[in-house]
Amino acid sequence: MAERIAITGVGQTHHKSKRTDVNTPELVTEAVEAALEDAQLTMKDIDFVVLTSFEMADGQYLPDLWVVPEFGGVGKPGFKIQNAGTSGGVAAGAAFSYAASGMFKNVLCVSWQKMDEGKGAFGRGGGGLSEYWQSQIPFSPITNFARRAFAYIHNSGCTEEHFGITRVKQDQCAMKNPYAQLKLGLTLEKVMESAVLVWPIRFLHMCPSTCGAGVFIVSPEKQAKKVTKKPVWVEDWFCVHVGGAFTMAEDPTLSTLRYGCQTVYKRCGITNPLKDIQAFEIYEPASPAELRWMEEVGVCEDWTAWKLMEEGKVGIDKEIPFNPSGGVTATNPIGATPVIRIIEAALQIRGDAGEHQVPHTVNRALATGYGGQGENVIILLRKSY
């Protein structure tokens, strides 16, 4: 990397299933203004804009064109990047690249989704699926995670209840996050009573439709130190896309998350993830996924996460600080979701997460973006060098 870079400001909206009071540009502007205020900057200071949203879930072709003028982006250089579920992750990578080039001072990364205006299910259903056969069968994120959850039960020996316990833990975290959408006060019974969509995935296991936006500002070292006393350094990022992996002959359980994390850990000299990283914000679109993701991120052995979950070792103030924000099952504005993971990870490092702040010092935090059938973007942040 040419220059060290740091996140100097973050902002997000209060996420809701419907925002009929605002249109898309207005929704996005709420988060942009929050991030600018956080960094104590104005739009005049911004010299590059990277935008992202999952177009089809917005129901808008080139939505950046509509959004940019509202928050003051006219006259700025910028562009939109989009890769379905990982959109926010690749957009963050683009913002990091532009900042690391040293050619720009303050790069604004803007992400959003307004799912009350688009056909989200259509967008997600079509996400990276072959028109020849996958989209001919009811293959969607729900069936995808049902397949994964089924395999998890088979391989780990856990029961359906463990997915319920995981969902309750996610909800308990979300209850403490002022920005989270679903704060349901769940009990195991409530989760187990919810309708089966595709067994073992129940209604309450799946992420919701969300309207929301997430924005951060990233700058090269010198500028970052000028802007804030609490820069959050971007140590590394790595995008692993596989496309039609599900159709590949290779073992479908061979995870991009595991591969991506191992790559980043190797580059950053991390040998014991649970010791070296003190907060995890991982994109889990369905509650059973969190168990497998814990294993693939490397915080526990394969097929053991459910035991840790059962023993209550996972949570904001627990041994394994996994998704203290409540995660994606509580809030999922698709295009913005990976950026919100980064924002939450940055807040944990700064110690500004409020009620869902992990109690220990966070020197490193890991954020990911997930999409399609197994795409991942891995972002590692750190407190200081």
Binding site: P77, Q82, G93
Partner: protein, 384 residues
């Protein structure tokens, strides 16, 4: 720019209607082509292609995250693979930025679209705001019609001057074996063609549908010199957003393009583009745009686009040939257009442009545009 990024290989398909070919097949052909030219393969140990940046459009493919599904067919499997959902020039710029950031050394950039799979005006109607533009039936051609009207009215640009652009580009295109709408038409033919969006006539609008793909490989300076003895250097990049609401701008001017061009010229150290550049490949989705964009790019003063074409400055053999390849009017797909402009500049600077070669070309400019009436511009300057 502190460092230079080199383009070490380019490949283009023929631009036609590929009814019998899946988009993945088109993609594989151009990708294999640039891999063969350079001997590079997808590698994760830093000895091959490190990353992929694509330009494509979900709505035209009818698939959410369309590139996610297609990347692995070319071998971009289990690796960095981003997709810029804009005109292809912006994908080239981002690919170059991945190199300049030091995060990657060798980046494959591809642009692909199948216009024939979709209704362009329906999709572009979805590109207007929900509240007003979409409901009155605006699409990018209708927006261009309004811009052409305003431009002609404010600066006295004549329909004949716009028609000259079509004749020039379609004549140039006859030297480009990859385009299929290059034929010997006359100004009368253009002026007698069907009225589509007053004052725009059918022959003044980019032919649609056209399918195709372009691939290129970018590399850091050190690697580029090792990979090829004919690298073409990216010397400047600029881009800029304008207002979406057409009523918020004076459509007769293109302020965003002026900013984008200034940003690129500053990086490249270009002060007098007409004198310093040897050719330009400009994205004219409609004929009048080549004149208007020429003003924005500083090839002439405001409102002087008509005189520029009358003087023959932009013809082959003129002081600054614009669109020797035949331009978009000879039939190039949207989205692919920007990266194809860059590819054409690369061929020119390598002296490999065949019958459309501008002799002795050393510096070139490629321009891409996205959105209604040119809302987002991208300018890339290149040097031998």
């Amino acid at each position: 720019m502190a460092d230079r990024v080199g383009i070490v290989a380019v490949a283009q398909t023929k631009f036609d209607q590929k009814h019998e070919e899946h988009l993945t097949e088109t993609l594989v052909r151009v990708t294999k082509d640039v891999m063969k030219q350079t001997g590079l393969e997808f590698k994760d140990d830093g000895t091959g292609i490190d990353s992929t940046v694509a330009a494509s459009q979900d709505y035209f493919g009818g698939l959410g995250g369309i590139h996610l599904h297609y990347a692995y067919t070319v071998g971009a499997y289990k690796r960095p693979d981003d997709r810029v959902e804009e005109d292809g020039a912006l994908a080239v710029a981002y690919g170059a930025m991945q190199v300049l950031s030091g995060h990657h050394d060798v980046v494959l950039v591809i642009g692909h679209i199948k216009e024939s799979a979709c209704s362009k005006n329906q999709v572009e109607n979805l590109g207007m705001d929900h509240v007003y533009g979409r409901k009155i039936g605006l699409d990018f051609v209708a927006a261009a019609g309004m811009q052409a009207m305003r431009y002609q009215h404010k600066y006295g640009i004549t329909p004949e001057q716009c028609a000259k652009v079509v004749v020039k580009n379609r004549t140039n295109g006859r030297n480009n074996p990859l385009v299929m709408y290059a034929n010997g038409i006359t100004i009368e033919d253009v002026l007698n063609s069907e009225m589509v969006a007053d004052p725009l006539r059918a022959l003044e609008i980019k032919p649609n549908p056209v399918d195709g793909a372009v691939a290129m490989i970018l590399a850091s300076e050190d690697k580029a010199k090792k990979i090829t003895d004919k690298p073409v250097w990216i010397t400047g990049m600029g881009m800029c957003y304008d207002h979406h609401e057409l009523g918020y701008r004076d459509l007769a001017d293109c302020d965003a393009l002026v900013s984008a061009a200034q940003m690129a010229y500053k990086m490249a150290g270009i002060k007098d583009p007409v004198k310093e550049l040897d050719l330009a490949e400009v994205s004219e989705h409609c004929a009048y745009q080549e004149l208007l964009w020429s003003e924005g790019l500083g090839f002439c003063g405001k409102g002087e686009g008509g005189k520029l074409i009358d003087k023959g400055t932009t013809s082959m053999g003129g002081e600054l040939p614009v669109n020797p390849s035949g331009g978009l009017l000879s039939g190039v797909p949207l989205c692919v257009a920007g990266i194809q402009r860059v590819a054409e500049c690369v061929l020119q600077l390598r002296g490999e442009a065949g019958g459309r070669q501008v002799s002795g070309a050393k510096k070139a400019l490629a321009h891409g545009v996205e959105g209604p009436a040119g809302q987002l511009h991208c300018v890339i300057t290149l040097e031998k």
